[in-house]
């Protein structure tokens, strides 16, 4: 009896440690690939891995965050609007899976806005009104959920810049958001040990340079 119990505990221990380390290891290995992949094939492979992780875990939003991010990147690798829409729709589905797990997550809300913003750029002439409203709504909502989320400010800044370009307005508002994002990136300098998103610092700097400093 006692022996059976120890065997059972032994196996349980093995499984538990394995699965714990497994998530960290798998996420740690896959996240950089989402950013480094340069072909749709590579991206699809890592998205597949992330969706397996997401499905197996069932209560973690992070895998879906990155698979959605992967699909947004993927949409940028195609020229035809139809293809872009296809991958952006997949990104939307991944964001929704994540939000079903964690509805008040600022990062997911910001990503939702990002995906809407990309949908808008597929056909700005006719999607402009409807999609810009929805994108702004998501960014503002994301900031409300976590005022210190630098990505929400960065993406808001990009949206404001895009709108100003389209409408021929000034960039002050966009720069305000981008500078706010920069400040928050500085503040959150130390690396996060969880798998929460950390991207966006370099893009923010590049955008500030181009939009806010370049013209002056």
């Amino acid at each position: 009896m006692k022996r059976n119990l120890s065997i059972f505990l032994g196996i349980l221990f093995a499984i538990v440690t394995l699965s714990n380390g497994q998530f960290e290891k798998a996420m740690g290995g896959n996240i950089p690939v989402v950013f480094s992949s340069s072909t749709p094939e590579e991206l699809q492979a890592v998205i597949n891995q992330l969706s397996r992780i997401g499905e197996a875990e069932g209560d973690r939003w992070e895998p879906y965050y990155y698979s959605a991010y992967g699909y947004i990147r993927m949409s940028g690798m195609f020229e035809r609007g139809e293809d872009k829409d296809k991958y952006l729709n997949l990104a939307k589905a991944e964001v929704e899976k994540g939000q079903a797990i964690d509805p008040s997550n600022s990062e997911l809300e910001a990503l939702k806005g990002y995906h809407i913003m990309m949908q808008l750029t597929v056909d700005p002439q006719s999607r402009g009104m409807m999609y810009s409203g929805r994108a702004f709504e998501s960014f503002h909502k994301a900031i409300k959920m976590d005022p210190d989320n630098p990505r929400a400010h960065y993406l808001l800044g990009r949206m404001e810049y895009g709108t100003a370009q389209f409408m021929g307005g000034a960039n002050e508002q966009a720069c305000g958001s981008l500078l706010k994002a920069r400040k928050l990136f500085m503040k959150n300098e130390e690396p996060d040990r969880s798998f929460s998103p950390t991207w966006g610092k370099e893009s923010t700097e590049a955008a500030i340079k181009e939009i806010c400093e370049g013209g002056e």
């Binding site: 497994q22 492979a45 891995q49 397996r52 006719s126 702004f136 709108t163 021929g168």
Partner: protein, 714 residues
Amino acid sequence: MKAITVSMSLLLSAMIFGQYEISGMVTDESGEPLLGVNVYLKGTYTGATTDVDGNFSFTVNEEDHLILVASFIGYHVQEIPLEPKSQKLDIQLRVEINQLNAVVITAGSFNVSDGSKKEVLKPLDIVTTAGATADIPGALNTLPGTQQVGETGRLFVRGGEDRETKTFIDGMLVHNEYSPSAPNTPGRSRFSPFMFKGTSFSTGGYSAEYGQALSSALILESKDVGGSDRIDLSLMTVGADIAMERSFDSSSFAGKIQYSNLTPYFALVSQNLDWDKAPQEYSGNFTYRLKTGKTGLLKLYTNLSTSDLELYEAEITDPEINLPVKVTNDYAYVNASYRTFLNDKWTIRTGASFTKSSDFASLDEASREQDLVGYHTKVVADYLQSDRMSLILGEEVIGRNLHQELIDGEPFKQHLHERISATFSEAELYISTDLAFKIGGRLEHSNLSNRLSLDPRISAAYKIGENSQISFAYGRFRQLSSDQIILFDQDARQEKAIHYISNYQWIKEGQTFRIEGYEKRYNHLTRYENIFDPTTYLSDGSGHARGVDLFWRDSKTFHDLDYWISYSYLQTERNYRDFPGSFTPSFASTHNFSIVTKKFIDKIKSQVGLTYSFASARPYNDLNGERFMSGRTPSYHDLSFNISYLYNNQVIIHAMVNNALGANNIFGYEYADEPGSDGIYASRPITPAAKRFIFLGIFITLSKNKGISQLPNL
């Protein structure tokens, strides 16, 4: 002892985590390898992605969860239970039929939306088309299948009268969809294009869901819950309006109040008409959207307006004698619709609409007063059996109570209570992504003629190439005779039309080509010798319309320039009303041509548009001619121009001129009731009230999100 236990448990672990190799190949139904398929063990991290040859392989450590899943975008997920041993598997995935890959039945229909579906026009196109004056029928009149009938501003489709086109908002019928106008001047649709996210304009062969329209169905879908808070102000040469939009978590409200008055405009631009009181209208449009539960959506839509105009019309026989004309209208339309998904398979749509319209028109001493109360209720169940088959089943009641009083000396009153009850059903079948069928029928009962009728509707589409497809449609349609007829003769048989349509469509990113041939046969049209004598009514009139419609749209070839070209050829004759045989009616022209261009010019931050429309001669009945319908009008030309200048984020200035070149368009002739002493009927040409129509407007947006302006509106 302890050592044994430990080693035993290690051994057991090793046994349990025995390793197997799973490999194989994933293909589609035709045996083509699929790249990027996610093949994995359900509930685990273990799996692989197929390579360019469709191959995968991975090592399995687990013994539980031995269900293999193959999942790929656009295909049905497949699950395969596995034995715990090394094995090689060939997996075939079935394509999932969806909006992106499936063939779409296009015979007879133009879809206007900004979804990813292959639409012909976008909502924005309706408002940016020069010459259309932001009027839905105005823009649709640049599509093939329509005939320019400039004195009405209405939609005349493929040899059909204007009343043969019916408008539906969120599935519900609209009565009296045009604003009133002075005799022989164009009216506008009451419904602003800004309120709708999708428009489906069918020039024939439409779904069994739509009845009481012989020629065409204009199906408008109002916007869903919006995402913005904004106030828009418009100042125009014809009036002013204020619109606001508020959205909340699960609901939104939009409203627009408008006042228009043409007095200042008419003071500046001289008119052929002698206005006593230029057209004036107060109107309000309100929408409310509420999301209920997870999938429910309630939409309320209201349109209210009151308008009037007064002018003097000269006698044809003596231009010195001017008779007063007065027109007033009070209108209310309320529409509520609700849609919810019961589960994966069933969706319920239900709605009700109510129209009240009071019209008064007088010419000198004679007048006509008409009160209409219309209603429409509908329940539809959508059943989605799979991605290959769906079914709709619905029931509706359409009713109208019409009271009319004619005063010309003695008052003459007439009443009408009509009620059409219908049951309809339609199945949509996808044999593959390339072949689709729609088969339906409509069972209808009219209380007036007390007849039951069954009308089949069939259509099919087949993809013949990556970018091209053919489709066909056949259908039988029926509609009550015009109000003037049924007021006199309530049991008049319904008029009937049969449509045969074949269509070829080629779409490639930024370019669309369509050619459509059709044949339409009319039966049971009402004939009479004297419209005021119902004993002369016969329901054996007939007619036909046949023709070819061509459409080409291209936004790719020229940088920043978007244009489309429409051409319609129509051959039609009817033996109806008091025609002494089969003749082409006066609203039909053989050739109709339009070219619409739009260009955004960065340098001047403006969108400019140019539209040219042409219609060949129309017949008219020359009372002094030797034969019936022997007159021919000159052909019709119109070159219209518009420009929208983006002053800044919040302000847009819009200008437009219709018939910029000032062509002398004549739509027909009016004749005196009696011939003069010389035996000749005095006549007068029907012409536009002014050669050109000029419009100037400033649109201002006040919005929380400063980025949003009315640009996408213009």
